[in-house]
């Protein structure tokens, strides 16, 4: 047996230090914002270029070393110590997080630009805390630290939902928190079972020790259920639409684009880094079936929503379904698994950019018109050409039409499902694409026609904010043109080759 340790040998060069910076710096910035409330916005905006630089430096190190960058905290190796690890998927998510949070920050200057009052203070502090928590999730190398990171993520995300403090948003936030607590306690239960059975929580050590037995299956089922509740996988999606639709636009963008991906990321870690040796393809069909349910149910409900932000939120429910198609298709090291893995990762990233752009665009439309009723948006394209273009480009990615990141992602996933003989998933993804076309065009077509009565703008958005929205949508499209080497980087640290043929 080739041990995965060979693939995951610790990199001792200074790149490891960057992993620590990616966590310490945003935590420090969040604490500074907490201490100097009046400066919260300036601290957050000043940190943004630093955060982007750290994320891209980590990505560069991962690509250069072509292996997993590891750092042992305090020099203590697992099982006693705690490891931070960055592989291709981590690096991709770190960079995505940095770019989207920076764009949301630029956008939020228009809403939370004043330094007075509780709301701006809360928003900027929570945004930094969210960034820190996401980086912890993407870098954590041990299941218990990942649990703490997941909780930090929830604690930063829930207050963002109820920033307006209205009855509806408070209800949405409470429901979100209760679902999240349900999810995290199930996850922790699984962690306890794993520790009880194998005596370690380090991902690499655990992956060498696991045996297909009752305790392991029980732990895996509990953790998957918990993470699915946090990711709002159908049928645990109930909390998501009111929570994401009720938050301020910049917060909705971050919640929909990144926060749900945090728990999805952990689910991928669990099945592909901790349990790759488990014969799991059949069990994971259940997960994909839930994903299929999410695609159909979310898309159908998105078609029926009277309000733009709710439509976008239901479309998130549907797009999360595509992410879970990754599991049965990429498991087990079959020839099609690389395509499925790449497709799933591209879907996570292109959905993040497209959805952030669409939520921000919806925010601009709502501010300009003073409402977000889809039935009264005829001709808004004349008023806000850049914003509506960004919305349409984001929609292109959701539908999976070329050229866009969503097309590449869904194409790879469908190719893998056809190749593996799991035709039904391909059919559902195709149907989901048609339904997505329906709900995107429901907004875009009337927006591009001439208005019946001249629309009056309450305020016009600044060019910076429109620019941020368009830039996000353009990135979602550009992912569709990703070169071959970019796709190869996503395979870094995928513990597959080492484990083929192990019991």
């Amino acid at each position: 047996m080739t041990s995965p340790q060979l693939l995951l040998a610790p990199q001792t060069f200074e790149g490891g230090l960057l992993l620590v910076l990616a966590i310490i710096l945003p935590v420090t910035a969040a604490l500074l914002a907490l201490l100097f409330g009046h400066w919260a916005e300036r601290i957050a905006l000043a940190y943004m270029p630093v955060g982007i630089a750290v994320a891209f430096a980590i990505a560069r190190d991962v690509v250069h070393s072509n292996s997993v960058v590891t750092y042992y905290l305090g020099g203590w190796a697992p099982p006693l110590g705690v490891a931070l690890r960055a592989d291709g998927f981590s690096a991709l998510m770190l960079a995505t997080t940095a770019l989207i949070i920076a764009a949301a920050g630029l956008f939020a200057r228009g809403t939370f630009g004043s330094s007075e009052g509780r709301k701006p203070f809360a928003f900027w502090t929570l945004l930094l805390a969210l960034w820190a928590a996401l980086n912890c999730v993407f870098l954590g190398g041990d299941l218990f630290n990942l649990y703490v990171a997941l909780e930090l993520l929830t604690f930063a995300a829930v207050p963002l939902v109820c920033l307006y403090g209205s009855k509806e948003t408070l209800q949405a936030a409470t429901r979100y928190l209760l679902f999240a607590l349900f999810g995290s306690v199930l996850y922790l239960l699984g962690v306890a079972l794993l520790y009880g059975a194998y005596g370690t929580l380090d991902i690499v050590l655990l992956s060498q020790r696991i045996k297909p037995e009752l305790a392991l299956w029980l732990a895996a089922a509990l953790m998957t259920t918990g993470l699915a509740a946090k990711t709002a996988l159908f049928p645990f999606h109930l909390w998501l639409p009111p929570a994401h639709a009720g938050a301020p636009p910049a917060a909705s963008a971050v919640l929909s684009a990144l926060v749900v991906k945090g728990s999805f990321f952990l689910c991928v870690r669990l099945w592909f880094n901790v349990l790759p040796a488990l014969p799991s393809v059949e069990a994971l069909q259940v997960v994909a079936a839930l994903g299929a349910g999410a695609i159909l149910y979310g898309s159908l409900l998105a078609l029926r929503q009277p309000r733009l932000k709710l439509l976008i939120a239901y479309s998130t429910v549907a797009q999360i379904g595509y992410l879970f198609m990754l599991f049965p298709l990429a498991a087990g090291g079959a020839p099609w698994s690389t395509a499925a893995w790449t497709g799933g990762l591209l879907q996570a990233v292109s959905h993040a950019f497209a959805k952030a752009s669409m939520f921000l665009a919806a925010g601009l439309i709502a501010e300009t018109l003073g409402h977000d009723r889809i039935s009264e948006m005829r001709g808004v394209g004349r008023l806000l050409p850049v914003t509506v273009t960004a919305f349409a480009l984001g929609g292109l990615s959701l539908m999976g039409l070329p050229p866009s990141g969503g097309f590449a992602a869904k194409w790879l996933l469908m190719a893998a499902s056809v190749e593996s003989g799991q035709w039904v998933w391909a059919a559902i993804m195709l149907l989901g694409g048609l339904l997505a076309g329906g709900y995107v065009l429901r907004v875009v077509l009337p927006a591009l026609t001439a208005p019946d009565i001249a629309l009056t703008a309450k305020t016009m958005p600044s060019r910076t904010r429109e620019g941020a929205v368009l830039a996000l949508a353009l990135v979602a499209v550009l992912i569709g043109f990703a070169p071959r080497c970019f796709l190869d980087w996503l395979q870094i640290g995928r513990p597959l080759l080492a484990l083929v043929g192990t019991p």
């Binding site: 649990y147 909780e151 209800q171 409470t174 922790l188 639709a245």
Partner: protein, 112 residues
């Protein structure tokens, strides 16, 4: 039956009761209490695992004890956040039920 087995069974019962309460009770405060009950069962389970010394064959394994302490801190902050949210909800709506009604009704422009 030795003490560890008895404690393990108690942990299982607490986890089961907590899970049942968390899923079936509609009232948020009861859900929060059930979450804490579940948490207590979970920490007891970790304590039993520590007693078994699974990792190193020691008399008592220190790692699960560290997990319990961290877990208690996290569960405490979660409870505090949940209770304060429920209080705010009560102030805003005079009612804390979370029945699924058509959400986000006329909050004009969703950005007021």
């Amino acid at each position: 039956m030795n003490a560890a087995n008895l404690a393990g069974l108690c942990a299982a019962v607490l986890i089961g009761l907590g899970l049942y309460g968390l899923i079936t009770h509609p009232h948020p405060l009861r859900k929060i209490l059930a979450f804490n009950l579940l948490g207590s069962g979970l920490f007891l389970l970790l304590a039993v695992i520590a007693r078994r010394g699974a990792a190193a064959g020691l008399a008592a394994d220190p790692v699960p004890q560290a997990l319990v302490i961290t877990g208690i801190v996290v569960a405490f902050s979660a409870t505090a956040l949940a209770v304060s949210l429920v209080l705010r909800l009560f102030e805003a709506a005079n009612d804390v039920s979370l029945r699924a009604e058509p959400p986000a009704t006329p909050s004009e422009g969703a950005s007021s």
